[in-house]
Subunit: 146 residues, 4 copies
């Protein structure tokens, strides 16, 4: 693992919500991060589909870490805002959130993301959600060596 | 409780994610719904604040049910999209999400929402998040008698 | 006029698009700015209503200047992003965009805005659009004396 | 020209604002529409860049017509909402807005769009704005034969 992959894996492990949801970090590339979530009734809304909040959580996290892969050393990221469209009910055994950097500015990074729903064991998918997010880069108070 | 309050309480109880997060439905009024979340490390992002995904989840739910209070009998609501601004770190013992209907159209209802963070036992609060959401009204397949 | 009112009036006068649309700056208060637009077929979309782009233009401008009333001296504002809901067709002799600061941070200010449509000479109105915007504060290169 | 291209060209010609801005419809494909805008000081914000409102106007129009290419005969489209990120100052002799359908539902179509800024005569560009929009399909009152 590269330094940034190690750093993001360590940061992800500190996210209580990701553990609570059962989400896993499945890819960290330059400007692109994937997070996977297996279907569980604990994540549902009232009709049994995965709740928009759980979808937003993994998509926001994927976008934030995608932005972090482009942020200067000694900085962290916080989400300023995001907008999400829910395209269809989130059905499927496995959801994969993909966050990608579109533009990394000095203080703000704009990302897009999508959540793909896969049936069990299937490679084919349907896109169930679309995000456009603004991530702020913040200097961390202690100097870091990554 | 009125019929709509009963219906929303029953629907809320079916949301696996609300139970998983530990959220409670604390107010159902005409066009306004409140959901409360107590701080728990299980809901955190990497810096220990409540994760934007958890905030989005309770705010989206509050907006959806606010819309449902204005929807015709025999219909349910699904979120078409929302946009959320995170104004400051979500700190505080108790978060309250308030969803309000701004305009209820025939097929789309527009809501705004905010999340207020309260210190333990305090009535004063800071607004930590702001939402603008579009909720779609859908006919339910079985006829209902509410 | 206060210094900030003078500064915003001067800035507004430099906006070619506001002149092209026929928009006027009608109120500058602390954290709140109004811009008025009279109906004109030159502003229409294909059905004769005022185009969402014209509505977005006056609302974005109102939000930006509302943010500027809270920005430090020697800074200017640029819109990072906005989200707008069109609630109903923009009909009416006169549209008024109201932009208000919700939270002014060090580098980002979050504003909400609405556009009200008034029939000719009427005080009553309908809200036709709702905005939630993120405005970035930028240092201007030359020092200023306001 | 196909029927849908003719219909969109006719509809575009009825948009007063597009004429006022000097925008032209430059491509109508299946699920994708382009609109071009040449730089003019009449479209500027206070710093001389193209105003976010003008950018939103052409992008919203491109997204709306992209949705219309996928809408059933006898229907028209109206924008329910959009969100736009302004990535950098809109500089360049020529701006091109591209709207694309991501998902066409029965009543709502989700589109993404971007505005590319080209220097005079150049094929290279910078993306200056990004949109995610929800377009509603509405039945038109008179029956149509397209």
């Amino acid at each position: 693992m590269t330094t940034i992959q190690q750093r993001i894996a360590a940061s992800f492990a500190m996210q209580g919500l990701m553990t609570t949801l059962g989400a896993t970090l499945t890819h960290v590339g330059d400007g692109e991060v994937h997070i996977t979530l297996l279907y569980d009734g604990r994540l549902s809304q009232q009709q049994g589909f995965v709740h928009a909040g759980a979808i937003a959580a993994i998509l926001d996290t994927a976008c934030g870490y995608a932005a972090l892969t482009r942020a200067p050393a000694g900085s962290d990221v916080v989400t300023a805002e995001f907008k999400i469209n829910l395209l269809r009910p989130a059905l499927g055994a496995r959801l994969m959130a993909i966050g990608r950097v579109v533009n990394a500015g000095r203080s703000l990074t704009v990302c897009t993301g999508e959540v793909r729903a896969h049936a069990d064991g299937s490679e084919t998918h349907k896109v169930v959600a679309l995000m456009q997010a603004t991530i702020a880069t913040v200097r961390t108070s202690v100097s870091e060596t990554d």
